[in-house]
């Protein structure tokens, strides 16, 4: 475990003092990278906030172990998010790579890329879920909670057998949609 795991703990515990430290240490670097690549301070604030929330979600179950410097991970996530934002703004793929102006050990960069890719996979799954029909979303969300599925069936006014049948259909549909997404099919 890297000593910078403490930054992950600050997010998990919503530690105000730790979060302020995190901004003091890393916000100027993120801002410099984004301002240097066609953005402004407001863009940098948005990107950094969304990156930190995504990192919180990634690590929310307490199983995530950081093995590279937090800065390398955060810079990588922000860089990829900013490239996506530029793609959306321009309506076409951005061919120029974002110059982050930072240099890390190759091993740290590789780890940071791996974490950032995992974060994007998880983000994609949740985004794809939101594109599904209301019934499927309702069933999947309810079945993923802590309530037993027999109670879920009762709450939704369905029989238990029908709930399980619909759940497996919805999960199959979600799997197909996720596999077709560029993040999963290797097009990104």
């Amino acid at each position: 475990m890297h000593p910078d795991q403490r930054f992950i703990s600050y997010l998990q515990q919503n530690d105000h003092k730790g979060i302020r430290e995190l901004y003091r240490l890393f916000a100027p670097k993120i801002e410099r990278m984004i301002v240097h690549n066609s953005g402004d301070a407001a863009d940098a604030a948005d990107i950094m906030q969304e990156a930190l929330i995504d990192i919180f979600r990634l690590s929310a179950d307490g199983r995530f172990t950081l093995t590279c410097p937090f800065e390398a991970f955060l810079v990588m996530v922000c860089k990829r998010k900013w490239l996506n934002a530029l793609r959306k703004r321009s309506g076409s793929p951005v061919t120029k790579s974002t110059d982050d102006g930072f240099t890390y050990e190759k091993q740290d960069t590789d780890e940071a890329i791996r974490y950032a890719q995992q974060l994007e996979r998880e983000d994609t799954i949740m985004q794809v879920l939101e594109t599904m029909g209301e019934k499927c979303r309702q069933i999947i969300r309810a079945c993923m909670g802590k309530v037993h599925q027999e109670q879920v069936a009762e709450q939704l006014g369905l029989t238990y057998a029908y709930l399980r049948k619909k759940k497996s259909e919805c999960m199959a549909q979600l799997g197909a949609l996720v596999k077709a997404h560029p993040v999963f099919n290797g097009e990104m």
Binding site: A45, L52, M126, M144, K146, K165
Partner: protein, 242 residues
């Protein structure tokens, strides 16, 4: 195929009877496609459980991040301010005066109240075609008093058309009648319709204009990342913190 996915779910949830589980595991060993699908379904389940459980903590974390971001931004401004005072006070005074002037005429401010376009297409069960066109023309031309009047008339005959309740709220917002805007937008924002997420944003704007800051913050924080007005909601939240 249906049984195929049902078996995967049953296996992952540990509810397959022993004999079926052994058969499934044997098949997993032989069938790479089943192996890949089972692994994907396991990943989907684990990720969704983790994210959905984390979701209730996100609004509080977001508030802490916004506060830290604000502290950082104000610290940066202070630093720049010291340099300006030392070296560029006269020029800065002139620039500040100009900036205030520009800000007051609205060139720099985020237009939180920019309203969407109302489509002229008729929704099923809605008012007749001519009436719909008339409403859309009035609304899109910025004649909000007129569009509100027409929408109230349309809703008098059928109160169940959520689309019209939403645009009635927006018409009141355009008309700067924020109390009525809140009254119309709140049930839409709290309801299950496709307008709910957008209504939350505009409800937040109306509440902000009424100085009901806590309620505005609550409404804006309910606009999620996948919603159209998420970015503007975040900007509004930052504004509300000032």
């Amino acid at each position: 195929m249906e049984n195929y996915f049902a078996a995967i779910q049953d296996y992952l949830e540990g509810v397959l009877p022993d004999e079926d589980r052994q058969q499934f595991e044997a098949e997993l060993g032989r069938n790479p496609e089943l192996r890949a699908e089972t692994a994907l379904q396991a990943e989907l389940g684990a990720v969704m459980k983790k994210h959905l459980a984390a979701e209730e903590q996100v609004p509080a974390l977001r508030q802490s991040l916004q506060a830290a971001s604000r502290d950082y931004a104000s610290g940066r401004t202070d630093e720049k301010g010291r340099v300006l005072i030392r070296w560029l006070l006269p020029a800065a005074s002139i620039a500040a005066a100009l900036l205030i002037l520009v800000y007051q005429v609205g060139w720099f401010s985020t237009d939180f109240e920019q309203l969407p376009v109302l489509s002229e297409s008729v929704s099923r069960g809605g008012p007749d075609n001519n009436q719909n066109e008339e409403i859309a023309k009035a609304f899109n031309a910025g004649a909000y008093a007129r569009s509100a009047e027409l929408l109230e008339a349309a809703l008098a005959s059928d109160t169940g058309i959520v689309r019209y309740t939403y645009y009635l709220g927006l018409s009141h917002l355009g008309n700067q009648d924020y109390v009525r805007a809140v009254a119309a937008l709140k049930p839409v924002a709290d309801g299950p319709s496709v307008f709910a997420a957008d209504a939350r944003y505009f409800l937040a704007v109306a509440l902000w204009r009424l100085d009901r800051v806590d309620e505005a913050r609550e409404a804006a924080s309910r606009v999620t990342e996948s919603d159209t007005y998420h970015k503007k909601s975040q900007r509004l939240l930052r504004r509300l913190e000032k």
